[in-house]
Symmetry: D2
Subunit: 303 residues, 4 copies
């Protein structure tokens, strides 16, 4: 929970720009609403009542818990962002937002690229096909960064050559690397923003967009909508909450009853299928269950 | 065009409530943006330039003319409205908006109904299946209003009887007349609001919702976004603009060439099909063409 | 889980009409996609692999579990529905759908009203402000139904009188009761339909719309998309899944550690505040926790 | 208008793949609806009637003319497309669609890049900041293409080197050129597709996306929805229709009255402001008016 002392005055955040990655940023251009505005809209539906702060908190938590999302739509935020294009490609997939992006058709492309410093290179994770921090030789890291620099210079040369020779900008840009920065005005309501944050603050999100999401969440939303922010962290299943499926609940009961399904013939939807060497096969749903039990501090008999 | 002198300070409009119909209203709860914010967002895409007021005007007109709608989405408005339910049924069909409506499931229904005064009754238009101001006998008008009053009282009695006897509100409300007022918070971006106004300020829109649309347009938008408002009126084909279809353009050429199609065998897509008595058959597309020519002050040879 | 034998051929459902309430219905007009189409779209993103039925099932469950919603959007359903207007008012709040509704402006209103049979009347629930099956005197039930019939007849008389006297249909309809039936074509993608079903099959949804939702779910979706349907029921927190918030998880730990917070001064966010008589105050979040523990078959020490 | 003989059987289009650009394609995966389905949905609102083909045509034209868009939403199309990323960046801006894109995070990037053949290079247009076919030296064209090839090879080398050394795919891809192809399933309703086509078949759209839009329009929509397609071409102001603004209409009247505004002091909103050399200044709105008059075959006195 946000301590009162650390709260930043909302108005002070207006126009504030926070740097992200090597050359990117997020700036709050404008916003509309507050925790109180959410409560106000909800009370049109659910009826008036005494309005102490405590009750507002309870109402916001109720709305969040039951996914009554429309009152959160009553708040709106407009950001100015500068983001590498490969990150922006993920960003723009969130459709319920308004966007004005810098046009490399009308203007010369922004002369900034995301540079990967030697210590930033990540290895491919075997497990989940995503990036991971593995051990990479220090010397090799330098080679990768140096190689990247050469490619950026090459791409710049080609782009500039085309422009100097009056090739159409819309065509000149076609071989710019995805690491090229773009800028945009991005406006979204608070409900859809929280959905964006749930997906993009998640540990499975790519590090780059996660960096932006964390800034939006912790540097802006946490201060502008403190009650909503706390409820979001508490109830979102990608944040601090845990979602138990029907199968999960069934298995918890079986564990309490001490009839572990894997000892029987039935393999419980394949959770306990074994490899030739007798070890349990990899099974995503079982492994996610194990993680949930860890979160609940309940030990699982088969590990 | 709005004269500078008549402009109302935007801040003065915040919280302003304007009455509509007999018991309804529109109140501006909050808003975000201005003509300048539209321009600011557009310049992210189209590039910077000197920012005189004149140029802003030109840019806004350009955006509106070419339906570059995203910069207009950068502005947002939140209204508190009180509307009869049959009117609200039309209103809510506009999907790109956020809504919190008064719940007659949780609360007792608002005890207000749209009453039709004797001089408000309208006759069915034969032509376009919509309402029209025809001649209705004065005495008969009074009967209609009196009859309406009886029905409202009857419905009220039944509703109250059910409530007094603890019938569930969600069920007690089921026979309330559509004329019962409801309230809602309604939030929408400027682009989608203008689309709403285009449809609902139109002469074909029902008088009731048109009354609300006109208030939103002339009492709020015209003052909050004067340049955008003027461009909207100028370029929207349901407002002051005229849209000529390929067939319309073809016919204009034929009229100039003095080869009126109806004198030939070909009837030009049925425009000049005749009834048995030799008169032109009713043809919606031709009749709309005639109206467009009237708007352009061009006379049509066959009328 | 749907048994294979009970599966209905998808094509046989096309055009099928199922009656709902006294005069309503749902008819499947057209649809696009299948479980296989969801898998096919997902594999564009996540890569190909061998396509046994088992693997498709696993992928669909994975998509549902992690709320990867876009593949479910690849399926589309179009229904023809007949619904009382007060029910339709709830239905239409789901914005991500396409709708063509019967117009009482252009046509005479459908001459059907939802009639409440004596045994259908419900009492107001004190607890959650919604309807509930309480004990109502049999004789009184008959009075309510008879009273309703009178009101319907009165409303019909007024409506017909207006029409006979050529009052505009758009105005004549204004005092029709909310129980009047309307019809619509309603088209929605599978992801948004499941969201609709989650909200409207929920026990807190009003009985009338729940009746429609159950038909859509169990009579159509369960047969057209059997793998998706099963995953939906299993993972949706309003269906068979349970969502534990950070506070819930904290309390579960405290219960295991035998340090029940209510014995201490700290009241755990008000969960254990007491009334003057020493009983626990009503607290929605605690009470929902109690229900969740019941679902998990975990006993709560304070009840 | 489409001749009956050239009409292609709709079913024959299912699964049909048409090549676009050097390595791209569009394939129709599935679709729902037809001209008849649009009419069917519209008649729910506007009432039944005899259903001859002619009347269907008239109704579809009416819906299109008056922008009654919901019946067109009742049809849905699903395409599989392969598109260069810089083109896809424009495509994805159309938000009201469902998308599953090939993931270069989970899979190795598609090893295809848009290659610009020597005769495909375009010059920057001075007038409207877009591409144009200007005269470029033949020898120079070859240099540009050769230079592009070198850059592609360089980028490929870097990408492959990273992958071989197990750098995370999500990071390895970051310097791929925007000309790299991606693939996606793209599903959209007919109304929103026509809006996409209006913007992307327009002469101001970039050649590459225009190529895709034309294939979608002329090779698919024209055959699947022939009546709708014809009405779209006829009524869309970016296609064969002309939209006259209030100012345009005013000027047409002035031209007929022979009082050309530029001869007077008033410059008609700056349309007739002059440069020092006496020539008319460039003025976008006036120049667009001139083009409209050319379309209407009306001569303008000042040119």
């Amino acid at each position: 929970m946000l301590k009162k002392e650390t709260k930043i005055n909302a108005v002070a955040l207006l126009g504030k720009q926070i740097d992200v990655l090597d050359k990117g940023f997020i700036r709050l251009v404008d916003y509309m609403g507050s925790d109180a505005a959410i409560v106000q809209a909800a009370r049109v539906s659910y009826g008036e009542g005494t309005k102490t702060i405590m009750e507002d908190d309870g109402l916001i938590r109720y709305l969040m818990r039951h996914r009554h999302t429309t009152p959160f739509e009553m708040c709106e935020l407009k950001f100015h962002v500068k983001v590498p294009m490969d990150c922006w490609r993920q960003w723009i997939r969130h459709r319920t937002a308004s966007v004005n992006e810098y046009s490399t058709r009308y203007s010369v492309a922004i002369n900034d690229k995301k540079v990967t410093e030697p210590d930033e290179w990540r290895l491919q994770s075997i497990k989940n096909k995503q990036g991971s921090k593995g051990v990479i030789d220090k010397q090799f890291r330098k080679i990768l960064t140096s190689q990247e620099k050469d490619l950026h210079l090459h791409a710049d040369d080609v782009y500039e050559y085309r422009l100097e020779n009056n090739i159409a900008r819309e065509q000149a840009r076609k071989d710019l690397p995805l690491s090229t920065y773009t800028e945009a005005y991005w406006k979204i309501d608070l409900h859809n923003l929280l959905h964006f944050l749930s997906l993009r603050m998640d540990e499975h999100a790519q590090l780059e967009i996660r960096s932006y999401a964390n800034v939006i969440g912790y540097d802006f939303i946490a201060h502008l909508f403190p009650l909503t922010w706390e409820a979001f962290l508490d109830y979102d299943f990608r944040m601090a909450a845990v979602l138990l499926s029907a199968r999960d609940i069934d298995m918890m009961q079986r564990m309490r009853d001490d009839v572990y399904i894997f000892e029987r013939e039935d393999s419980f939807f394949g959770w306990f299928d074994k490899r030739k060497d007798g070890e349990l096969k990899s099974n995503m749903e079982r492994q996610e269950f194990e993680k949930k039990m860890e979160r609940l501090d309940i030990s699982v008999p088969w590990t």
